[in-house]
């Protein structure tokens, strides 16, 4: 068996040499970079990394893509003290203690980085207790995609800037067709609360108090009840199909199959919709009456592990990702640099414009998970309330109250 192990070691060594590991064997520095991206997005990251390697001879960037298993992998790696040097990050409350605060470095390199060019709202998504732990590399706001062909066929007017939820509902109702299983809109029964909070904000409330002290009066406020009730009613009146209970079909799949006239999502859906060849338009999120609308911001930010052996190189790498050159390459999300957006003429493009308009409106609030260390558990109760409301198509007040009650022990 010993012999076999030796052979195995040989085979492994030979394979790794032969298959791309060769440069690793000779490179002086290997930088491990972990991401949850896959497919096309991953290809973009690899391209940027290659350019970084070209600009920094002797450095090899090992792009590690964990896809769906990102958290599992990261937990194992951090738990065992063997994290990647640089990684995609969003869950700062859980990881920040092992991440490098970047404020000092940012201050030092503010000029060369042209930090002014990056909207503060984006960097704020990485802040814990005032310190920034990540530099965004790309971002998205939320919008409504709509199928222009379907609108035309049904003779429905396309959404206009400043539209409201009642506008949306009125339009949606006209698309419902039982025979072809067509709907005007889709509502989520199991949304990611991170994204869902935008509806609370837009209706003038939030999940949790600004200081994180209480959910009572926020999560179950009349405004909150109103939001859930509205979505439940849309489901009840068949203005919208319900996603996430019983039907595995995703909103994007339905939209791509022309079964959905309008679909609320973000940049990550755009690539697929383009590919499916849908003739679509993009509208801002609708408002609740005359209240100001607000979107969640999803940013892919890059963080550096505290345990990295090479903090300077890691920081260089992060900076490179925020450089105009790299930002331009990221076609699957939005440029974090205003200058790049303008240069690429995105702010005027009717498809991209609503995203930036949403960004401009969305700097007032920060996400609930940054406000309480037990938020992930509190959130479970909220998810349950949303799901229950969508299943029963009503009773929002009762379910939200129960979520608040169930959350008490986590707020201690």
């Amino acid at each position: 068996m010993k012999k076999r192990l030796k052979q195995l070691a040989m085979v492994t060594a030979v394979t790794s040499m032969a298959l791309g590991g060769a440069s690793a064997a000779f490179a002086e520095e290997v930088l491990r970079f972990a991401t949850w991206n896959s497919s096309e997005n991953l290809a973009i990251l690899q391209e940027i990394s290659k350019r970084f390697e070209a600009a920094n001879p002797g450095v090899k960037v090992q792009v590690e893509s964990y896809g769906d298993g990102y958290d599992k992998k990261l937990i194992a790696a951090f738990g065992a003290g063997n994290p990647p040097d640089v990684m995609y990050m969003w869950n700062y409350p859980k990881y920040y203690k092992s991440l490098m605060p970047l404020d000092e470095l940012m201050a030092r390199d503010a000029e060369s980085m042209d930090l002014e060019d990056i909207p503060a709202g984006l960097i704020n998504t990485t802040r814990i207790e005032g310190k920034a732990y990540g530099i965004p590399a790309g971002f998205t706001t939320h919008v409504v995609f709509y199928n222009k062909d379907m609108f035309e066929a049904a003779g429905v007017a396309e959404p206009k800037t400043g539209w409201t939820w009642s506008d949306l509902r009125e339009k949606a109702a006209q698309f419902r067709d039982e025979g072809s299983k067509t709907y005007g809109f889709a509502v989520e029964a199991k949304p990611d609360p991170y994204d869902y909070e935008q509806f609370f904000w837009s209706n003038g409330t939030r999940f949790i108090a600004e200081d994180g002290s209480s959910v009572d009066g926020y999560m179950n406020s009349p405004e909150a009840v109103e939001v859930l009730t509205m979505f439940a009613e849309m489901a009840k009146n068949e203005e919208a199909t319900v996603l996430g209970i019983g039907d595995s079909t995703s909103g994007s799949a339905l939209f791509k199959g022309s079964k959905l006239a309008m679909f609320q999502s973000a940049m990550w859906s755009k690539g697929g919709i383009d590919k499916a060849g849908i003739n679509y338009g993009v509208a801002m999120l609708p408002a609740f009456g005359d209240k100001p609308v607000h979107s969640s911001i999803g940013a892919s930010a890059m963080s550096v592990a505290k345990a990295t052996k090479n903090p300077e190189l890691a920081w260089e790498f992060v900076k490179f990702y925020a450089s105009p050159e790299a930002v331009k390459l990221r076609e699957n999300d939005l440029p974090i640099r205003t200058s790049v957006a303008e240069e690429m003429n995105l702010t005027a493009d009717p498809i991209y414009k609503p995203f930036f308009e949403m960004l401009a409106l969305s700097d007032r609030e920060s996400n609930a998970f940054l406000k309480h260390k037990n938020w992930s558990k509190i959130q479970t109760n909220l998810e349950r309330a949303i799901e229950a409301t969508m299943i029963e198509k009503g009773n929002a007040k009762k379910h939200l109250d129960s979520a608040v009650a169930r959350s008490k022990r986590h707020l201690k």
Binding site: L19, G20, K72, G79, A80, L254, G257
Partner: protein, 270 residues
């Protein structure tokens, strides 16, 4: 009459079991347009065989394949050898602490992987095995409890007199294992080999946790790379899934004949 009934039942059940595979297959060969059609199309107008090629070359699947094959073959050998030895030990000897040790062995099947994950990772990290195929291969040489249990149950259906006869014939314990029981448990060994092959071939968590570099990735890891956080490349997943199914299916088709080969497994009296 009963024969017709048997066939009817078999055909009905087969349909139940074959639908998913069929579905995966047609998903793989659908064009984008048909992929999102509702109600779903049962046979695509245009069969996009190209999808297989496209999916295969989206990632270095040839590298993944090589890694998977190394892992699967080396670990299967280890599993067959170690498990049959241990199973024979438990089934055919009386020794101090046997029953207690066996219970211990059984209990290791019940440990949820969640808890073992971090400590094991630390251990392999200390050994310098992270980002190598070793964590996926070496443990297989130390006998998996599930297979030991399976083989032990099998050995215990063989009359003890066979061993005694061999002992009278002058065979020592090793010879009884090697010359009598190993051939006798061949169907069960093929079964274990098949099971382990499937497990190793389809293992996702192990490669995910222990491998970092794409040049070390296995096929399943590549497959999962098509599933991102927000968007999923259904066509590629289906295509690669179909490709991934083929080797185990071929293997299985031949293995099952061997498993069913009564001339070996048949009992002594019979």
């Amino acid at each position: 009459m009963t024969r017709a009934l048997t066939y009817g039942a078999l055909l009905f059940l087969s349909a139940m079991f074959i639908i998913p595979f069929y579905w995966t297959f047609i998903t793989a060969v659908k064009s984008i347009g048909e992929l999102y059609q509702f109600p779903p199309v049962f046979w695509p107008d245009e069969v996009m065989w190209d999808n297989f090629v496209t999916a295969w070359f989206k990632q270095p699947f040839d590298v993944y394949l090589k890694n998977s094959v190394i892992v699967v073959i080396l670990s299967t050998i280890g599993q067959l050898f170690s498990c049959s030895l241990v199973a024979f030990g438990f089934a055919r000897f009386k020794f101090r602490g046997r029953d207690a040790i066996f219970v211990l062995l059984l209990s290791t099947m019940m440990i949820p992987w969640d808890v073992k994950m971090i400590p094991l990772y630390m251990e392999f990290n200390m050994l310098g095995w992270i980002n190598t195929l070793k964590p996926l291969i070496v443990p297989a040489y130390f006998a998996d409890a599930f297979f030991v249990f399976l083989l032990r149950q099998y050995i215990m259906t063989v009359p003890i007199e066979i061993d005694e006869a061999a002992r009278m014939d002058g065979a020592n314990s090793w010879q009884i294992y090697w010359r009598i029981h190993l051939p006798l448990m061949m169907p069960a060994l093929v079964l274990v080999g098949t099971f382990h092959f499937m497990n190793a071939w389809n293992d996702y968590l192990g490669p995910l946790i222990y491998l970092n570099d794409q040049s070390k990735y296995t096929l399943t890891l590549g497959l999962s790379m098509f599933k991102g956080l927000h968007e999923t490349d259904i066509t590629s997943i289906a295509a690669i899934t179909v490709v991934l199914c083929i080797p185990p299916l071929i293997l299985f088709f031949f293995a099952q004949r061997y498993i069913m080969d009564g001339s070996i497994g048949s009992s002594v009296k019979g």
